[in-house]
């Protein structure tokens, strides 16, 4: 029974990882057709970086992810603090809206935001992408920070208040240091979500600001492109590094 369940686990992991491994191996394949092995080569990486539009899309994506993660971490942290500390009317509604963002199908969020932007006459591009990405990252940051706050000694902020600290000072000197690991983890999660998003970006991006996932999307819709293997491998290594970093931060803060 025991070896049976072990080999079942191993089999499923194998199936999950085979496509990823194949992609990485094929990114070093010299053959143009993409199916047969034609020897080791880094030519697809070279052609990737010599493609000006591709490099531009990479920078655009990085900048978007960087700013979206930062803004959503700031707003998300404040939201979590407000939900944790303050009593106010409509708290349930606020919670409900965050829940809706997280649970509703991405495509529904995407069209609702597109509708809003067009109604406002906002030109689709960096700003619309930023607003959309911050919105879908927000609940994840809130949850990460809330989880951190829930295990926190309530007497500390009270003591700070008794000693005469204002709400702002207390938040800055007591609460922010406590939630710092959660902020970093939430930031990394937001960064990754933003870098990977296809569904929402398809709707709210315009020709003025091309981002990486959409460029990949238009490449893979028609046939196989060896450059995509190389690009996919780079993205894979990148997000793996981000994930390990966030796990490391979280586990270190627990000790």
């Amino acid at each position: 029974m025991r070896w049976l369940s072990r080999s079942y686990l191993a089999l499923v992991y194998l199936l999950l990882y085979v496509p990823i491994v194949v992609l990485v191996i094929f990114s070093f394949n010299d053959s143009r057709t993409g199916y047969n092995w034609g020897g080791l080569s880094v030519r697809w990486y070279e052609s990737l970086f010599s493609n000006h539009a591709m490099v531009q899309a990479m920078w655009n994506s990085l900048w978007l992810a960087l700013t979206a993660a930062t803004v959503s971490t700031c707003i998300g942290a404040l939201t979590a603090l407000a939900l944790h500390r303050y009593r106010f009317r409509g708290k349930k509604v606020l919670n409900g809206m965050l829940f809706v963002v997280m649970m509703s199908p991405e495509i529904v969020l995407a069209i609702s935001l597109l509708g809003l932007f067009l109604l406002l006459g906002l030109k689709l591009g960096y700003v619309s992408l930023l607003l959309a990405h911050v919105t879908f990252c927000l609940p994840f940051v809130v949850i990460t920070v809330m989880a951190r706050l829930s295990g926190f000694d309530e007497r500390l902020p009270e003591a700070a208040r008794d000693l005469g600290a204002s709400d702002f000072t207390m938040t800055r000197t007591v609460l922010i240091p406590v939630i710092m690991p959660a902020l970093l983890a939430g930031w990394l999660l937001g960064f990754t979500l933003s870098m990977d998003d296809v569904v929402v970006s398809t709707f709210v991006s315009g020709p003025s600001y091309e981002i990486l996932p959409l460029r990949i999307y238009s490449m893979v819709r028609v046939g196989l492109k060896p450059e995509v293997n190389a690009l996919g491998t780079l993205l894979l290594v990148f997000s793996l590094a981000m994930l390990m970093l966030s796990q490391w931060i979280l586990s270190r803060s627990k000790q």
Partner: protein
């Protein structure tokens, strides 16, 4: 109100920012979708008056109904396959030593952090006519000529399962984690056989996890339009593809909005079922 602003300016600023963001970018857009779904299509301004339910009626047009039912079928198959793979997987995972479980869970969420588009594309490398699977099967002598694996209904389902499996496994894992060994022993002591224990104890206790998993898989499985785009060809569309085409290509906003409202209502229904099952379990446990 003015007084509380003066007393606690920080608190007031935080609340205004948070409320402002959510009302502006969550509440208003969703209201707009509801509004658009009952308006009339307009080639110049996307939508116009008068109000009517034409868009909803159009959903039952045989042409679209067929697409929707096919999409629902593929999403249901995806969910079923995820459940069949994920249920024993989560069970086995919950019985591994704790120390190793952390690593195994980590391996499960790595794919969640990697680009789903790239992973879908990686499947294409394997399923293509002269791809790896076909050449492997041919060299083993299982088949004589390459089979058409890509651009089929099966390919779409495989792609969706591949992307969504962790979303089924994680909630199932958490209910199996809570499943106490002594409950199973008690059932055994009371004379229940393996199957009776499974049917009367394990299944009811893990049902909330099953429903949570179904919720997390079924809806994305109707919305992830890039999977059929890459793996399925033009005949295996998802509801997501229809919504996308109606919004971005056909510019028929009322119809796209109505379709997405139906999607949202499906989600609400599933969440309601999930709550109900949890509540029932709580009452029985008390």
């Amino acid at each position: 109100m003015m007084q509380s602003i003066r007393q606690q300016p920080f608190r007031a600023a935080v609340l205004v920012l948070v409320w402002g963001w959510l009302v502006f970018l969550v509440l208003t857009p969703n209201m707009l979708v509801v509004g658009a779904s009952v308006m009339t299509r307009d080639p110049a301004n996307f939508i116009s008056l008068p109000l009517n339910l034409d868009a909803y009626r159009q959903l039952f047009n045989p042409l679209y109904l067929e697409v929707f039912l096919h999409s629902l079928y593929m999403a249901a198959m995806t969910t079923l396959v995820c459940l069949l793979i994920g249920y024993p997987f989560a069970w086995a995972l919950s019985r591994v030593e704790k120390r190793r479980q952390i690593l195994l869970i980590f391996l499960l969420i790595v794919p969640f952090w990697t680009n789903s588009l790239v992973r879908t594309y990686a499947l294409k490398l394997i399923l293509a006519t002269n791809g790896l699977l076909n050449s492997a099967l041919m060299s083993l002598g299982v088949i004589d000529e390459s089979a058409q694996l890509l651009y089929t209904e099966g390919a779409v389902i495989v792609g969706l399962v591949y992307l969504l499996l962790p979303f089924m496994i994680l909630p199932l894992y958490s209910v199996f984690e809570d499943l106490r060994q002594d409950v199973l022993l008690a059932s055994h002591d009371l004379g229940a056989g393996r199957f009776a224990t499974f049917k009367n104890v394990i299944v009811p206790l893990t049902l909330p996890g099953v429903l949570a998993g179904v919720m997390l898989v079924l809806l994305p499985a109707m919305g992830l339009f890039f999977v059929p785009d890459i793996l399925g060809g033009s005949r295996n569309l998802l509801v997501g593809n229809v919504i996308k085409n109606q919004f971005l290509d056909a510019r028929n906003w009322p119809f796209g909005a109505a379709a997405s409202i139906v999607l949202t209502l499906t989600m609400a229904l599933l969440m309601f079922a999930h709550r109900l099952s949890k509540r029932r379990l709580g009452e029985e446990g008390a």
